[in-house]
Amino acid sequence: MILPLTWGVLIISIIVITIISGLLLAAIFRRRRVEDSLLSRPSGGLTWVYAGVGISTLVLVATTVWTMKTLADTVLPPRETRLTIEVTGHQYWWEARYFSDKPGEIFTTANEIHIPAGEPVRFKLVGSDVIHSFWVPALGGKTDVIPGQNNITWLEADKPGIYRGQCTEYCGKQHAHMAFFVVAEPPEQFEQWRQKQIAPATPSPDLIQAVATFQTRCGVCHSVRGTPAGGKVGPDLTHIMSRGTIAAGTLPNTPGHLTGWIANPQGVKPGNLMPQIDMSGADLNAIRTFLQTLS
């Protein structure tokens, strides 16, 4: 419903530009009877104003009515939403918390938001630090994330697919690298993903040392459910390997990039809140090995 309106105003705009430019050029270049004196007794001209303003006003009023109708029709989702996701904007990543009637099925993930395709999904937008804006261009308009105020919006993906989103309110040094992905899946696939996300990590016994290293180096900020690491400052990493990208859509999630990111976050995203930690190659290796088991 928004799309026809968007096309409508765009086409109206292009027509207006064409007509006015045409009139302007015609006015400038049209043939005139050559006058002897510099100033002839000036005539008329007001008809132009009345006609032009009259037509413009009609178009403007019609657009206003169309706008209000579209607004009324799209403010609420077309059907009841079954899923509510609470999205919290942080400098410079997105936290997503999936609600459920069953408390044991509430879980938190980050930067990659899966939704079932073909149904509207409700989003509750929570601010934690500065103002951000939650926007998936292909799926809908943007809504700001404002501390102290919870905004509600909804999105629906007609077809399954991966849809890119990006923070659209300047929020600091790494505003440029605060993307996220909405992955729309057929309902059964979504349910599979959801069940997997609910489950805690189960690190194998030979990773005890790596888990401990992770806890020391990373656990203050990051959580991995199923281990003692419970930090809430940075993204939840329980199922990090299920995501296609890391660092809020900045890098592909490959072992090389993952290592590079952990070793040099300030090089990848200068000014983001993940500190540059001097760690030995062994520690880095251990952490990466552990993370790669978190699918």
Binding site: V9, V16, L39, T57, T67, T70, P137, T143, D144, Y170
Partner: protein, 658 residues
């Protein structure tokens, strides 16, 4: 002993003559040396200072933009660090919107108004001088932040909480906050001067339906500024308190309201963006007719639509906040008003087209700019119309589509008219014409470069590119458009440089202009080029909108008098007239050159520097300097009647007369 004061004079009506001219010259000329440099109150000198200073800031803002465009020419470049990028994009906006766009129009209005109005100066010349010094010092204050590596970095609208001290601990935002309050004082006093001038010091017979549209434009902006500048000054002051004294206005954790900032800011900033285009539109409305050899079509409608645009403009500010989670009622209302505000703009655009259509265009460079801006106006206008529709705005806001829109309206409706105005009035100011051949190249380079730079931004915005990002990935389809924009920006910059080249060349070797090189109809073309310090030897009286065209148009019942009129040579004197009909009402005693405005501005600067350092002693010194300057400025003078000295000696400034 009772002092007798002069209650009335019967002013002499004389024919302009050389002896009177010489006497007036001695009375009105700028004092030589430092007194004249620091203390001049001549509106022409102040106007030129405003224009030159604003163009310096334009160049600085332009360089900032070019650096940004180098960084954005390709994906993932590392020409600039994110922090540097953020400071540059912020200062680009600040420089253009606050330190160029309004002051340049203030400069043109300063220079032209008294000439257009048939007066010798504005109504409050020392206030006028004060406004310039405050502008210069506040601009320097804001730019001084670069010396500390701490330029403002939160965009020109400076949203909280990112502007709060928790997220922005350096002095960047303090420079911006205090600098803007400082600049606001300049804007306020300058606006007050324009309003009082428009009300009081017009030529006899210049009733309100005979005022040039430039005067309507600046008058409208000035009234608006007086009403809305306090909103932004307050917002910045509250922010400064939050950052430095622990207040809670914008602290969400204490119940503070980030959206309060946005409301206060946009209540100011939306009328501001109309204030920075309406005077320029007025210059087009006054200039286009000259180059179409006929008066403006629909003068009354254009004057009314100037005021209507601003009046409606007070009621649309939340269209900058459509994505913040407003109520449906508010969304509908503000969306509707934001679309309807296009109606008065349409009046003006069609009036211009009608003027061209029914007139006979003369293809001077000025005409190119005045006609070319109409096309840019329409493109900028329709992109605004699109974003006025809320559901569409939810896609377009905060993307490069809006960046395209704002550049089309600001460059199209401010910069292009300003350059056209330079080509038109340069001869009046300097006595020489700008080169028309260079002018053509100047226009086309600017026009092509501008469109090449800005039009693709509509597309990158529609493709999802957000604003204010220092880089972008290579796989989202924005690359080609960004490259084209960057190339176009440099071409546009060359165009701007051509303007300076033309000015430099023509100052030395331009063709001598004479008083009325374009055969214009309004009063400024009756004064010599450049005008003498007193503007008119005798004060003109007018019978129509186009005093110099009356004989040929033959549509006015009376005739304006230009060579015969009031001499008003008993000191620095001007005529004060009634507001609506401009009947003579009072003889105004005008001030001589004075150090008070400069000193007052210095005192104010000391106060703001003291606030920046939170140093009470410095603030105290500033207050004392300011207070003394004010006291001396306003000290009532002596008036002596009848004594032989009084006849020849210019009286001091009168009680309450600034």
């Amino acid at each position: 002993m009772a002092r007798h004061t002069q209650r009335a004079q019967t002013p002499a009506i004389v024919t302009a003559n050389a002896e009177l001219a010489e006497r007036l010259h001695k009375l009105w000329e700028i004092e030589p040396g430092i007194k004249g440099f620091l203390g001049t109150v001549d509106h022409k000198e102040i106007g030129i200072r405003y224009i030159v200073t604003s163009f310096v800031f334009l160049l600085l803002g332009g360089v900032e933009a070019l650096i940004l465009r180098v960084q954005l020419a390709q994906p993932d470049l590392h020409v600039l660090s994110p922090e540097t990028y953020n400071q540059l994009f912020t200062m680009h906006g600040v420089s253009m919107i606050f330190l160029y766009a309004m002051p340049v129009l203030t400069g043109f209005s300063n220079y032209l108004w008294p000439l257009l109005l048939g007066a010798r100066d504005t109504a409050l010349p020392r206030v006028n001088a004060l406004s310039y010094w405050l502008y210069l010092f506040s601009g320097l204050f804001i730019y001084a932040s670069f010396l500390f590596g701490a330029a403002p970095n939160d965009g020109w609208f400076n949203y909280v909480p990112y502007a709060n001290h928790q997220y922005n601990p350096g002095p960047n935002i303090d420079f911006y906050s205090l600098g803007m309050i400082f600049l606001g004082i300049s804007t306020t006093v300058s606006s007050a001067n324009f309003v009082v001038t428009a009300m009081r010091t017009r030529a006899a017979g210049m009733s309100i339906n005979r005022i040039p549209i430039l005067v309507w434009g600046t008058l409208t902006s000035s009234v608006a500024n007086l009403l809305v500048v306090p909103a932004v000054s307050l917002a910045f002051f509250l922010l400064w308190l939050d950052r430095n004294y622990g207040t809670k206005f914008f602290q969400p954790q204490s119940g503070g309201q980030p959206l309060l900032w946005q409301h206060l800011f946009w209540i100011f900033a939306h009328p501001w963006v109309y204030a920075i285009v309406l005077p320029a539109m007025g210059m087009v409305s006054d200039g286009l007719p000259i180059f179409c050899r006929r008066p403006l079509v629909g003068y009354t409608l254009v004057a009314l639509s100037t005021m209507a645009t601003m009046a409606i403009g007070f009621g649309v500010w939340t269209h900058h906040m459509f994505a913040t989670g407003m109520s449906d009622l508010a969304l509908s209302f503000f969306s509707g008003v934001s679309i309807i505000i296009a109606v008065p703009s349409a009046v003006t655009v069609f009036a211009w087209i009608a003027t061209i259509w029914t007139g006979r265009p003369v293809f001077t460079t000025a005409f190119h700019y005045f006609a070319g801006m109409i096309a840019l106006f329409v493109i900028g206008g329709v992109s605004g119309f699109m974003t006025g529709s809320v559901p569409v705005d939810w896609q377009l806001t905060d993307t490069y589509f809006v960046v395209a829109h704002l550049h089309y309206v600001l460059i199209g409706i401010n910069v292009f008219p300003v350059v056209g105005a330079i080509y038109m009035w340069f001869p009046k100011v300097t006595g020489r014409l700008l080169d028309e051949r260079i002018g053509r190249i100047n226009f086309w380079t600017m026009f092509i470069g501008f469109n090449l730079a800005m039009f693709p931004m509509h597309i990158s915005g529609l493709l999802g590119m957000p604003r204010r990002i220092y880089t972008y990935p290579d796989d989202v389809g924005w690359t080609a458009w960004n490259l084209i924009t960057s190339v176009g920006a440099f071409i546009f910059a060359i165009g701007v440089l051509l303007l300076f080249h033309n000015i430099a060349v023509s100052l030395k070797r331009g063709k001598p202009a004479g008083a009325n090189p374009w055969d214009g109809g309004t009063l400024e073309w009756a004064a010599p080029s450049p005008p003498p310090p007193y503007n008119f030897v005798v004060l003109p009286s007018v019978a129509s909108r186009h005093p110099l065209w009356e004989d040929r148009l033959d549509d006015a019942p009376g005739r304006s008098l230009i060579d015969i009129g009031l001499a008003l040579d008993k000191g620095r004197q001007m005529l004060g007239t009634t507001v609506i009909d401009a009947e003579p009402a009072v003889i105004l005693q005008m001030p001589f050159d004075s150090y008070a405005p400069f000193t007052l501005a210095v005192g104010t600067a000391i106060i703001f520097i003291g606030m920046l350092y939170r140093s009470w002693p410095d603030i105290g010194i500033g207050v004392i300097v300011t207070g003394i300057a004010l006291l001396l400025w306003l000290w009532p003078g002596r008036l002596r009647e009848g004594s032989p000295e009084a006849a020849n000696e210019p009286p001091f400034a009168e009680p309450g007369h600034v």
